[in-house]
């Protein structure tokens, strides 16, 4: 099943029954339905689907206002870039609300499409999901796998409180990765899909497919990997990864965000202070002079070089 088909299916299942739910966003119920993200939505008669105005800033405030008045809502957004217009609300309105409501009864979720599929140009290629979460310590989740789609959409899309759930435009037409979860922490911000003794792979932002590919290739060479996906920027207890790295002594950290402030730096710093690592491979974007032009957005990984660097016989 394609990534977008599965994500859409989970959304449809989750929104169809709740009462007094408001789904809104530009063209979410018209045309391509945001490339299929919101295709075929149907809701309880007491709920409402709104093809909204092009007013991203106000639509963010709108969602918070609904939340204040006891109504849950989801704002489906065509591009993460547009959320820049709503930063005031992500920070100031959210801070205001959570400082006065300890136990929210309703939810507000923004679900943007992270435009990481390349060739979009300088104004439509922002993939720094963690930056949005970092700015006001906002719970945020990226969806990379089938398990994450099911978990995050069914348990967090309409759950009291506020969060952002990002989906990857690059993955829309790809087969969704169907890997079983073997461990996850309490808030699903750290999810482990594989446990191997030779190397630890930790993926940030939307880099899990890259890490998964590395794992598959290493497997062909009989190198067994542990792989973790960090789905959020919520302050994470790194102990599980630390434990794993103490066994493998080798780590590959991947972060495909274009931000200058990478979420992975936090883990790197933690590991540096807490264990001895024989080999540490950090895969980050190399920002070239043409990064503002319409170019491929793919992070190119030299598998052979990685394998050779690990010095695993």
């Amino acid at each position: 099943m394609k990534y977008i088909e599965y994500v859409n299916e989970q959304i449809r299942n989750t929104v169809k029954d709740p009462e007094n739910l408001v789904l809104f966003g530009q063209n979410i119920n018209a045309g391509s339905r945001l490339g299929g993200l919101t295709k075929g939505l149907s809701v309880n008669p007491t709920s409402k689907i709104i093809n909204s105005t092009n007013s991203e800033n106000s639509l963010c405030g709108f969602g918070f206002g609904l939340m204040l008045n006891g109504v849950s809502s989801v704002f489906f957004m065509k591009q993460l870039d547009f959320l820049l217009l709503g930063l005031d609300h992500l920070v100031n309105t959210y801070n205001n609300i959570r400082s006065t409501i300890n136990d929210p009864k309703s939810s507000f979720t923004i679900m943007p499409i992270i435009m990481d599929n390349g060739y979009q140009g300088s104004q439509s290629s922002l993939n720094n999901f963690a930056d949005f979460c970092s700015i006001a310590r906002i719970p945020g989740y990226t969806i990379s796998t089938k398990a994450e789609a099911k978990k995050f959409i069914s348990t967090k899309l309409i759950s009291p409180g506020f969060r952002i759930i990002g989906v990857s435009a690059r993955l829309f037409k790809e087969e969704i990765i169907d890997a079983p979860i073997i461990y996850e922490n309490t808030d699903s911000s750290l999810i482990q899909y594989s446990n191997g003794m030779n190397v630890t792979i930790v993926c940030f932002n939307l880099s899990f497919p890259i890490g998964w590919n590395i794992l598959q290739n290493l497997k062909k060479d009989n190198i067994k990997s542990s792989i973790f996906n960090i789905t959020t920027l919520t302050p994470i207890n790194w102990e599980e990864i630390l434990e794993n790295v103490r066994e493998t002594k080798k780590i590959i950290i991947i972060d495909d965000s274009k931000s200058q402030n990478l979420a992975c730096e936090n883990l790197i710093s933690f590991l540096h202070d807490n264990c001895d690592i024989l080999k540490k491979i950090i895969l980050k974007r190399k920002i070239e002079n043409n990064w503002l032009y319409p170019i491929s957005d793919e992070m190119v990984v030299d598998y052979q070089k990685i394998k050779d660097s690990l010095h695993i016989v």
Binding site: S55, L68, H89, N96, T100
Partner: protein, 599 residues
């Protein structure tokens, strides 16, 4: 007539299908004088000379006004005990237009010596009054209306309590047909007592003991103010009864260009039960609509309380006692009170950083707000929000924002929540004129209109943004045109009359709820506390409007908290309506209360 053979019944060619039995039974003591009311009075005076007790029955305006000279010279001068029974009084003959309104009969007749004036409010009252007049040795006038209202009980006196509410400080004094309307009003809003003063002249001195138990005296009559209202005013003045607020619900002293049936005219002049109940709700602090502009004591107190509370905050502020920034709102008290007055329990208020007047208006107390400013856990929001984000959701203040324009969009969501949950509340958004420069102002109005949401968007225009006048930083914005572009109703308010504000806002609220549309309201305010700022760049000084921080030019050291002598100060407006002495008396009382509260 069976009991008293001196009674002689005269009529002015009216009362057919009613009086015939009298004529049949007493042919020697009945006479139809024809359409000749002046002559009828003369005949009655002559009959009096012969020892009879004449009763003259006719349509009232012909009996009292066409025959005024005869009533004065033939009856009152001689103090003849003739009973005049006038029919179709008040607005009974409304469809015949103003020539047939009988709304000035009481005023005309009560200037005449000796005459007694009655206005029976029920069939029981009619009987009692007639018996009384038959035993009088003076002329009398009984003003009867087309009503069959019965109290279904024996009444003790002509003047009497119809309804006594011991918990209310509002007394309706009325007579005739308006007693029934007042009773109906009490069924809608039972917050007042009703006293029937069916004997209007002579005034019963014992009503002084009744009046003393009430603060608000509302005189309701289907007559000009020259009727019972002026009688009560005179009585209160002559008896030196202090501390009373008198209000009149009566027929406008204007014959008017339109007419209609009695019910229509009652509505036109605020005499219907709904209008009476709303009028009194307003006096007692509840929301109301469509009533004449009088400023009740409650409203005066509320506005003064907000002003004095701010002054007390300012005194602490000047001493640098607060760690947080506070934006005072001297000059915003009238609109804040009006907004608070029109709010029902489901209504939601969304404010800006300058929210102090609204928080004070909604809460009615200072201490929890002052404690919040001191960041004490005993304060509102447990002292966790500071001043610019101070909320009070129990009192309907759902959200406040210190970010210009931020609250517009949040309020759209709150309004949508009302719609989704099928609640009946309205969302009221307050922002300053600076906020309309933000894009979210346009976006939010568009959302409100597109989603058919009920909301009052109120822009407090003080023509300043921090230290800059509007015309120093931008081209003017025509809000009316702006609203028109999105087919949104626009209304401008100014003048700081709280009652006019309440009436208008409540009308607009009903409109917005009914039509499911936002309304844009621009209210002109002056944020008082300006000062001359001198800096190295401005050695001669420049006038700077108050924005935030203490207001050094405002001091709490006078008996009257008025800041300036023009209508931009709501206290000046109150003063013009209720007088300086009242302002000073209430100020003294409130200050004592407030100081005790925050001690």
């Amino acid at each position: 007539m069976r009991k008293d053979e001196k009674i002689f019944f005269l009529m002015g060619d009216t009362g057919y299908n009613l009086v015939e039995p009298l004529f049949e039974e007493f042919p020697d003591r009945t006479l139809n004088v024809g359409v000749a009311e002046q002559n009828m009075i003369g005949i009655a005076a002559g009959l009096c000379n012969m020892g009879f007790k004449p009763v003259c029955y006719a349509i009232s305006q012909f009996l009292t006004q066409r025959s005024y000279e005869q009533v004065r010279n033939d009856l009152c001068f001689h103090d003849y005990p003739v009973t005049l029974v006038g029919t179709s009084t008040g607005l009974d003959n409304g469809p015949l237009w103003a020539t047939h309104y009988v709304v000035d009969d009481i005023g005309c007749l009560k200037t005449l010596p000796n005459i007694h004036i009655y206005s029976p409010s029920s069939t029981e009252s009619m009987e009692k009054i007639f018996n009384e007049t038959m035993n009088l040795s003076h002329p009398s006038y009984i003003r009867i209306t087309k009503s069959s209202f019965s109290e279904s009980k024996t009444i003790e006196g002509v003047n009497r309590f119809i309804l006594e509410n011991e918990n209310s400080d509002t007394l309706v004094i009325s007579h005739g047909r308006m007693i029934k309307n007042s009773l109906d009003a009490a069924r809608i809003f039972p917050g007042f007592s009703i006293f029937a003063m069916d004997r209007i002249k002579p005034v019963d001195d014992s009503i002084a003991d009744i009046i003393k138990n009430y603060t608000n005296l509302v005189i309701i009559e289907d007559n000009f103010k020259s009727g019972l209202y002026s009688t009560i005013c005179q009585f209160v003045a002559e008896k030196k009864i202090n501390g009373k607020y008198l209000y009149s619900i009566s027929v406008d002293e204007d014959f008017g260009a339109i007419t209609g049936d009695t019910s229509f005219l009652h509505n036109k002049f605020g005499l219907s039960a709904d209008q009476i109940s709303n009028f009194i709700k307003k006096l007692t602090g509840d929301a109301s609509i469509g009533v004449p502009a009088v400023i009740g004591k409650n409203i005066v107190e509320k506005i003064l309380r907000i002003r004095l509370s701010q002054m007390l905050i300012n005194e602490d502020y000047k001493k640098s006692k607060f760690k947080i920034p506070i934006h005072l709102a001297f000059g915003h008290e009238s609109i804040a009170t009006a907004v608070s007055q029109i709010m029902n329990k489901n209504d939601k208020l969304v404010l800006s950083h300058r929210n102090v007047a609204y928080n004070l208006a909604r809460l009615g107390k200072l201490k929890p707000i002052l404690d919040a400013y001191y960041l004490k856990s005993s304060g509102l929001t447990d002292g966790k929000t500071g001043s610019m984000n101070l909320i009070n959701r129990e009192k309907g203040i759902f959200y406040t924002s210190s970010i210009l324009g931020n609250n517009f969009s949040v309020s759209t969501g709150i309004a949508m929540g009302e719609k989704i949950r099928s609640q009946e509340g309205i969302t009221i958004i307050l922002a300053g004129d600076g906020a309309i420069e933000e894009g979210s102002f346009h976006e939010s109005l568009l959302l409100l209109k597109s989603l058919e949401l009920s909301a009052l968007v109120i822009i407090e225009n003080n023509e300043w943004s921090m230290s800059t006048k509007i015309n120093e930083r931008r081209h003017s914005i025509n809000l009316e045109k702006f609203a028109e572009a999105s087919a949104i109703k626009y209304v401008k308010l100014s003048g700081n009359n709280p009652i006019q504000y309440i009436e208008k806002l409540d009308d607009l609220k009903q409109f917005s709820l009914k039509e499911k549309t936002p309304v844009l309201i621009e209210v002109m305010v002056a944020t008082l506390g300006s000062r001359i700022l001198k800096t190295p760049e401005l050695p001669d000084g420049q006038l700077i409007n108050y924005h935030a921080g203490p207001a050094p030019t405002i001091n709490l050291e006078k008996d009257n908290p008025k800041i300036i002598d023009d209508i931009s100060d709501p206290i000046f407006v109150l003063e013009k309506h209720v007088g300086t002495k009242t302002i000073e008396e209430i100020t003294k009382t409130l200050l004592k209360e407030l100081n005790s509260e925050i001690k």
